[in-house]
């Protein structure tokens, strides 16, 4: 039996301690700051809903990173896939006729997922056939996809009633999330039933990784590509499969935003979900159930950070980013050090 690894938690607390020191240097009370950071989501149901909305997005983005990571791929292309798939969801929501009803929602979901998966497969294509490095390809694609999405939305579907860069609202028939139980409970906050889907996804991924052949193949390939290939596992297949699943989860972030929260595409809607997903996955050390918890922790921090500016006298929005960065840095550092120690002992 493997011992439970607490290194990420230890790193988390070191990070909190270090940032407290910084806060004292800025003449603020670290106790208050911690209270704001961790407690702001408790203020009202609306705030809780917003935190759970972030949790949903972070969980999907975390899964989009952790699965390719198991196959030895450092996947930082989720951001581009999220933006592109959100665009697809908004466009489909606008052009599909109202008469389709619920079937229309299904169509939107399918189209969005296909776009997300194809966007991720582009990375796999360059990796497998053109010997490109997945990190470089993904970074470039992030910019390209964002540019495409902005262009399509602003040129063809700009909201005529607003001067903001955003698409028109999707057809009212597809705004089903407005009536869903979770949203109503949280006072029409951003959260929606996609939260349940996120929980289910984490469980499903856990099952996939532990109990299925494909899951094992991804893991085996990630541990030792040469050995895995000798055993008859195709490198091509693993690359396409792992990134395909990642693209699928990226597209779910896009759906959560468009079908679950704003019902339109707003340029710049994502506070870098794709990159925060990396943190979430590392914090959980790739464990799908752990991702559920780490995405909640990150969501609380993210929500709290935006309140720091409001609640304190000297701390600004930029400073709250510094605090987040310190915590992330300490967690990643602790995980890495522990990883090295385990390797040396083995």
């Amino acid at each position: 039996m493997k011992r439970i690894d607490f290194s990420s938690l230890i790193g988390f607390f070191i990070g909190v301690a270090l940032s407290s020191v910084l806060v004292i240097l800025f003449k603020e009370n670290p106790g208050d700051v911690l209270k704001v950071l961790s407690g702001s989501f408790l203020q009202s149901k609306f705030d809780m809903g917003l935190t759970l909305f972030y949790t949903t997005c972070f969980a999907f983005a975390g899964l989009a990173f952790s699965i390719p990571f198991k196959a030895g791929l450092f996947h930082i292309g989720a951001e581009g896939q999220i933006v592109l798939s959100a665009m697809m969801a908004a466009v489909m929501g606008i052009i599909l006729p109202e008469s389709l009803g619920t079937f229309g929602i299904v169509l939107i979901c399918l189209a969005t997922m296909v776009v997300g998966i194809l966007a991720a497969q582009t990375i796999a294509f360059f990796k497998v056939y053109k010997q490109g490095h997945e990190v470089v390809v993904a970074i470039m694609l992030n910019f390209i996809f964002a540019a495409i999405a902005t262009y399509v939305i602003l040129q063809n579907y700009q909201n005529p009633e607003s001067q903001n860069p955003e698409s028109a609202l999707i057809n009212p028939a597809f705004q089903g999330a407005k009536a869903d139980g979770i949203k109503t409970f949280f006072e029409q906050s951003a959260v929606s039933s996609f939260l349940l889907l996120a929980v289910l996804s984490c469980l499903a991924v856990w099952f996939f990784e532990k109990k299925t052949k494909w899951g094992m193949e991804i893991k085996a390939y990630g541990e030792n590509p040469t050995a895995a290939e000798r055993m008859g596992i195709s490198a091509k297949k693993v690359n396409f499969l792992a990134l395909g699943i990642a693209g699928f989860f990226s597209s779910l972030v896009g759906l959560t935003e468009v079908l679950g929260s704003t019902f339109q595409y707003k340029v710049g809607f994502s506070p870098a979900y794709g990159f925060l997903g990396i943190v979430v996955a590392l914090l959980a050390q790739g464990h799908p159930i752990g991702i559920l918890f780490s995405s909640f922790i990150m969501a609380v921090l993210h929500k709290g950070a935006s309140d720091l500016d409001l609640e304190t006298q000297f701390l600004t929005r930029d400073f709250s980013k510094v605090l987040q960065a310190i915590i992330i840095f300490c967690v990643a550092g602790a995980v890495y050090l522990n990883h090295r120690r385990v390797k040396r002992d083995a």
Partner: protein, 324 residues
């Protein structure tokens, strides 16, 4: 005893008065853009100093956080929440409906609700005026315009500016460029400088910007190539004295200050407040930094233009109306 009570009451009422809480939500450009947001910040700071209110300002991180910021202020029982910029219209509309007790104000956007005051400016009038000024000062007959984000609000600046130039020099060539189509366009001085340099290479010798914090790039380019620039929103004459010909003032600071004052005095009214040349809410800036650039005759001529706009003798095209 009664005297003591009286003093006590005075003290309490003083305390209560001082406790008027004002929340200010700035746009992405932030309070140091030396232009639009700076003006709003100045106005609120002035109110803090002179009216003894409690001021708290925040800067929007992304468009999604706007509604949360407004909500937070309202939840904390702030008396007045001011949203700066058209981007906050949706957020104000939604939050104002949820918190009917809280007063809201919005600059550059129209929200009709019982607790919202909309502060609108007649940008085209001021742009017409500085357009006339630019045409008077241009030797090459080529004048440039740099817009921030390509939206109706900035088109309104552009159309007014063009009309102003044509009124003085009907043959003038006008070069128009926009920095972008997203919110980043307000904060991209590098791109603004590139555009300015390209316009200067096409012989433009006076360039007007309506691009928030990006305008810094124009001032750099103008100083390098020794041409004139025109500032916007705040008085930007001081940024590069001798280079900045004048600034089109959009007195967001006055609008913000007056709104806070009205709440303080209990005279807050909802509805639309318009600011134009007539009431001095829009103007052109003449101070020690640019005085040497203007002759008395030119100043007189601009005063005439201003007078005829106020009197309605000149009709300034308003993009909000003409596009429909």
């Amino acid at each position: 005893m009664s005297k003591f009570l009286l003093v006590f009451c005075l003290f309490v009422s003083q305390f209560a008065m001082a406790n008027l809480k004002i929340g200010l939500v700035l746009d992405k450009g932030g309070k140091d853009d030396k232009s639009f947001n700076s003006a709003a910040y100045e106005g609120a700071k002035k109110a803090e100093k002179e009216l003894g209110i409690e001021l708290k300002y925040v800067e929007a991180t992304d468009t999604n956080s706007l509604e949360t910021l407004h909500r937070n202020f309202a939840q904390k029982k702030y008396d007045l929440v001011i949203g700066i910029g058209f981007a906050q219209m949706d957020a104000v509309k939604k939050t104002a409906a949820l918190f009917p007790e809280t007063k809201f104000a919005i600059v550059d956007g129209e929200v009709s609700a019982k607790n919202v005051r909309s502060l609108l400016f007649e940008e085209h009038e001021g742009s017409y005026l500085v357009g006339a000024a630019a045409a008077m000062k241009s030797k090459s007959g080529v004048v440039g315009f740099i817009g921030g984000m390509d939206i109706p609000l900035i088109r309104r600046f552009q159309k007014g500016f063009e009309a102003g130039i044509k009124s003085v020099n009907p043959k003038a060539t006008i070069l128009v460029s926009y920095i972008g189509v997203t919110g980043e366009a307000w904060n991209n001085p590098a791109k603004a400088k590139e555009i300015a340099l390209s316009q200067i290479s096409q012989k433009a010798d006076v360039i007007f910007h309506a691009a928030g914090a990006s305008g810094a790039g124009l001032f750099d380019a103008a100083a390098e190539k020794k041409v004139y620039a025109i500032g916007v929103d705040s008085n930007q004459n001081w940024v590069k004295p001798g280079v900045v010909l004048t600034s089109m003032l959009k007195k967001v600071d006055v609008a913000v200050f007056e709104t806070i004052k009205s709440v303080k005095e209990g005279k807050f009214t909802a509805g639309v407040n318009r600011f134009g040349l007539k009431d001095g809410g829009i103007d052109w800036a003449l101070d020690n930094n640019n005085k040497s650039l203007w002759s008395a005759a030119e100043i007189e001529k601009l005063a005439q233009v201003k007078k005829s706009i106020v009197a309605g003798k000149v009709s300034v095209p308003d993009y909000y109306k003409t596009k429909k």
